[in-house]
Assembly symmetry: C2
Homo-oligomer: 328 residues x 2
DNA sequence: CCGTTTCAGTGATACGGTTCAGTGAACCGC
DNA sequence: GCGGTTCACTGAACCGTATCACTGAAACGG
């Protein structure tokens, strides 16, 4: 049995003060220096620790931030989540990490559940940034969107996917690739993603012949999707919209006895630490994950403290390794 | 401004019942079928959703499970955390994921913070299983330990590290390795870990010459530790007590122009999905992560519902790939 | 010396549910 | 027809804190 914890009333009794005074004292408000000391001492004596639940009920603040990830099968998103969770801990907040499994309907349901859980704020990497409920959600909880811009008054850490896509496709084109398969993450339903539009637009501009297919983030799923892609009339290069998916291409190539970049070139997107370790190293678009983490935490702190909306733009760089061949 | 939510009292008023009746009805207790329907309808009408905070205060249950990880820099532990988080979600619980950064002191502090947060249970992958406070913690919150056994009445998913170490070392010995460096995860302070003892014991038994060094889980840190190890008079094989650390050995070997397994053999421990993708594939000790996740979730559910303590033992298997050479 | 601030602290109420003891009515067997 | 159950529901207390409105005393300015 959990032993009963001391309450604020007991501390009040012990010090001969009112519960209100104790409440103030413990938060360093409105009381004399001397009283504060007395209260602190009594609290320590009794092993008193304010009950976060009761505190949350009374004050309306929980100290918890919801972190809603598009798909935690993606190793890069895992890193992002871990980083943000750490960053929030440093600001004395807890992160409640949830996974939408790439499903927009689930994303919506979880976002609302988190709000009902009374989180102080919500950090989201939206699967479907065009969905209508984001704007509405901003009304009831401070929101920070990572990746794509959403409607409403959310703060945002926006990825400049336009530039990212351009970097990738121009690099492929410069090395002589014309026929390129693009693997984008599978969604339960397929919202019209801005990033996808950039791909087709840029491909048109550069005169590339691209074909979009979807693949799951998980290694097994991505491998089988890539397997299908690489059998038969295969493209000269595969551009994966997440390093995790590119890993599947490596696995499939291995299974099929194809060499990278000899038989097929691979381009990633994210730059997960493991990408540099593969043979050959994965050429990919790097997104400075630490910068994103810091920005997200900063914007969330500001928003949760009633600050104003802000928006930062994240720029990508091309990380050239060895997975893209120059076509003769 | 968050619009005000409906309260149970408003639902009561709308249905002409007492708040108590509504409370029961919504949880399917003690009321007639017909009343339940009426209450459900009224609740839906008003958009009523029970406030989890108030509920937690009154009932003493939060629906939240603390998940305290040894070090989330370890990719395998990341996967484990994500898996457990998903598993708990399926049981309508939320996971509060925290990272001890490999620091026993921090582990202790976080465990207590989580208890004070009123989590319904705590899942821990203890850094220092021998620490005294685990037993005490069991008294106040249902506890599930993963990995090593802790004192007290916790449920446990214990890894048979003895067998794991034996598999690894016997394999290395069978292939002719005698001088082996062992890289164990860095701890802020170094508690006497059972796994480390197994290593020295087994090494003695097998007549191996082992040298223990520590390395961080993060790729950068592990790489530099491995770098030191591989310069100068290097061993014929490195046994890493986490695949994440082995990744650092791969990176260091690459920097130094050493070939794996030509110049040095590497053995991992965990079997992270990426391990099969490296060149050569990492020979490692596999721990059926899905089984561990399922067991942990099951034990936690049982413990949180007031069930009895249980203990399951997890068996490893050797996953032979190509990173260990046969010495002539 | 008086009117106004400031300070330190109080009492009451709010937060939004859960839960326990109790109540009247219907139902039961005999 | 009567004691005893069961059923469906009620009223009130309670969970442990925050916060608002207020008060007496001290400090202050002129």
């Amino acid at each position: 049995m959990p032993r009963k914890r001391a309450t604020i009333r007991e501390v009040a009794q012990a010090t001969g003060l009112s519960p209100a005074a104790v409440s103030y004292a413990l938060r360093g408000l409105q009381v004399s220096e001397e009283t504060m000391e007395r209260v602190r001492a009594a609290a320590a004596e009794l092993g008193y620790e304010a009950d976060p639940i009761a505190r949350a009920l009374a004050s309306g603040r929980t100290g918890m931030i919801g972190l809603l990830c598009g798909s935690l099968e993606d190793l890069w998103q895992q890193s992002l989540a871990v980083g943000i969770s750490r960053g929030l801990r440093e600001k004395d907040r807890y992160a409640l990490i949830l996974d939408a499994f790439g499903d927009p309907a689930r994303e919506r349901a979880l976002a609302q559940q988190l709000r009902d859980q009374r989180v102080d704020g919500l950090i989201v990497q939206p699967i479907d940034p065009a969905a209508g409920f984001w704007a509405e959600l901003c009304e009831s909880v401070p929101l920070v969107a990572i990746g794509d811009s959403v409607a409403g008054t959310a703060s945002e850490v926006v990825f400049d996917n336009r530039t990212g896509v351009t970097l990738a496709l121009e690099h492929l084109r410069a090395l002589g690739h014309r026929r390129i398969a693009v693997l984008t993450p599978t969604r339960a339903s397929t919202p019209d993603r801005p990033a996808d539009r950039h791909v087709t637009a840029e491909a048109d501009r550069l005169g590339l012949d691209v074909e979009l297919t979807t693949a799951p983030h998980g290694l097994a799923g991505a491998t089988s999707a890539a397997h299908d892609l690489l059998t038969g009339d295969k493209p000269s290069a595969v551009f994966c919209f997440a390093d995790s998916i590119a890993y599947g291409v490596y696995a499939a190539a291995q299974e099929l006895g194809l060499s990278i970049p000899g038989d097929v070139s691979v381009m990633g997107y994210d730059d997960h630490p493991m990408s540099g370790l593969l043979t050959p190293g994965l050429t990919t678009v790097d997104w400075d994950i630490d910068g994103i983490v810091r920005a997200a935490v900063r914007l969330m702190s500001a928003a949760a403290d009633g600050g104003t909306r802000r928006r930062v733009m994240q720029k990508p760089t091309l990380m050239e390794r060895g997975s893209v061949a120059r076509l003769s």
